[in-house]
Symmetry: none
Subunit: 292 residues, 2 copies
């Protein structure tokens, strides 16, 4: 069974009736597993995480975009998070028996339905981008691209939706045993891709007033290249060089099993570990094989 | 469906024809899932891991012991691993819908068939032991018990087989970047339970002639108390104190998923990690829920 994940971001994080309507739209498609729903009132934004077979996930995403277009009026929107649409970003992520390449036509199909059914303009980004300058979401948001939407023209109240295919993103924070924000910012700069650090890492230094700690807040956009344990080691070394210890690590949302397998393999310096050495994996594979 | 695992150890790790005959005997029973087969030439020992319903697993184990008794001559055996039988140890392990207590009569039935069909003496150990001094495999191997085998008397060339029921065991070796056997033996003594080290750890220092390395060879008999990463850290510290580096780690057989989750949580110092944060676990839980 192929499984794909969709993590749509909507420009509504306050009105419970709208959040409930978005959830109902997603769950109106059978075979959808809703893993998470998070809303932030300051950002005035919500994120739903759901998984299922591709056709069901596309349908659930499209229906939710329809509800967003109907209920969210961007011209009256207030919130600190940048946005260009009522349904702002709709990424599709490979989970099981599916590659990133497989997710590209799936994203394109979803985009076509969004334009066709609701008259909401669509931009395609990341792996589903139709031109290199549209790969980065920031470029589309900031208008740093040539030409308009890939499909249609902006909806008067619902704007445009950015639809794409990307790898699983791990939201990972490391809290330092110091309130010194400068140190967290220095470490973030040292390890992030944009200033020559580790590949596929976005990082910011943030103050955590309630804890009297500074945090290195990160998105790992390709964990198979740069997994959490590699980031942990880099941050630990950078902190140690500044005389600071790590207080703890924090995960926002989910982490794929593969990231645990990579950490186990590397940190215990295995010479013969692989996923099939995990009892439950071996058993599941054999059961699948014998069911054929 | 009840699933039980059997992990027989045979005193042959070099002769491919014998290994193939052992495998064929196991697979001659229908419903057996053979998860692994590993052989080590220095140990001159092989380990098969298979799973299935209890009656099938008992029959497969008994047939393989018969092949071992026929093909392996202990009087001509050379290898660094201690042993008392051609089929040396035959443990039964609960996997699904089965407790450790359920595995005791299953082990006894297997032992009775081994003595009855092949004239190979049987000792029962761990949870299947018939006397407390027979619970520990080492006591049986070293003759530190009162009386002889639980069933029969030693076979002239195949010796005795130790049959038992136990919890999942992780066979874990750490190879040192030194051929100095004394150092591996020192470290083994330092970390093993029997000399006051970590709980539920059996450890031996062994020479690996083919690699010019010394090995700390271990069995972790309760990985939820002492998981592999804790052992790795202890061996690494003990080796470092002796000026020696770790060359690599090696897993024999399988490791339960839970051991990876424990390592990930501890080594990355998570404050909010738990199994439900693993995407595939969250998904499986939802699928189970939605199937109800």
């Amino acid at each position: 069974m192929s499984l794909i994940e969709c993590v749509p971001n909507f420009s509504e994080g306050r009105d419970e009736a709208t959040l409930a309507a978005l959830e109902a739209a997603i769950l109106s498609v059978s075979g959808i597993l809703l893993l998470g729903r998070e809303a932030d009132p300051d950002h005035n934004r919500s994120v739903f995480t759901f998984v299922g077979e591709p056709a069901a996930v596309v349908e659930a995403a499209v229906r939710a975009v329809g509800v967003a277009a109907e209920r969210i009026n961007l011209t009256q929107h207030q919130g600190v998070h940048p946005r260009i649409g009522a349904a702002d970003v709709v990424p599709f992520v490979p989970v099981e028996d599916l590659t990133l390449a497989d997710c590209i036509p799936i994203a394109h199909r979803a985009g076509e339905e969004i334009w066709r059914r609701f008259g909401v303009a669509v931009y395609f980004y990341e792996a589903a981008a139709l031109a290199p300058d549209r790969e980065r979401l920031e470029n589309i948001r900031l208008g740093k691209i040539t030409g308009g939407p890939d499909l249609g023209s902006p909806h008067p109240t619902a704007g445009a939706t950015v639809v794409g295919a990307r790898q699983f993103l791990i939201a990972y924070n490391i809290n330092l045993a110091t309130p010194d924000l400068g140190i967290a910012q220095d470490i973030a700069r040292q390890i992030r891709t944009s200033s020559g650090g580790l590949p596929h890492v976005k990082a910011l230094g943030l103050p955590l007033a309630s804890r009297n700690q500074a945090q290195v807040s990160m998105n790992l956009t390709n964990f198979e290249v740069t997994p959490p344990h590699v980031v942990f080691q880099a941050v630990e070394a950078a902190a140690r060089a500044r005389g600071v210890a790590i207080a703890s690590s924090e995960l926002i949302g989910f982490v794929p099993r593969r990231a645990l397998e990579m950490a186990f393999n590397d940190l215990l310096r295995f010479e013969n570990f692989h996923a099939a050495r995990v009892l439950e994996n071996a058993l599941a594979a054999k059961l699948k094989e014998s069911a054929r």
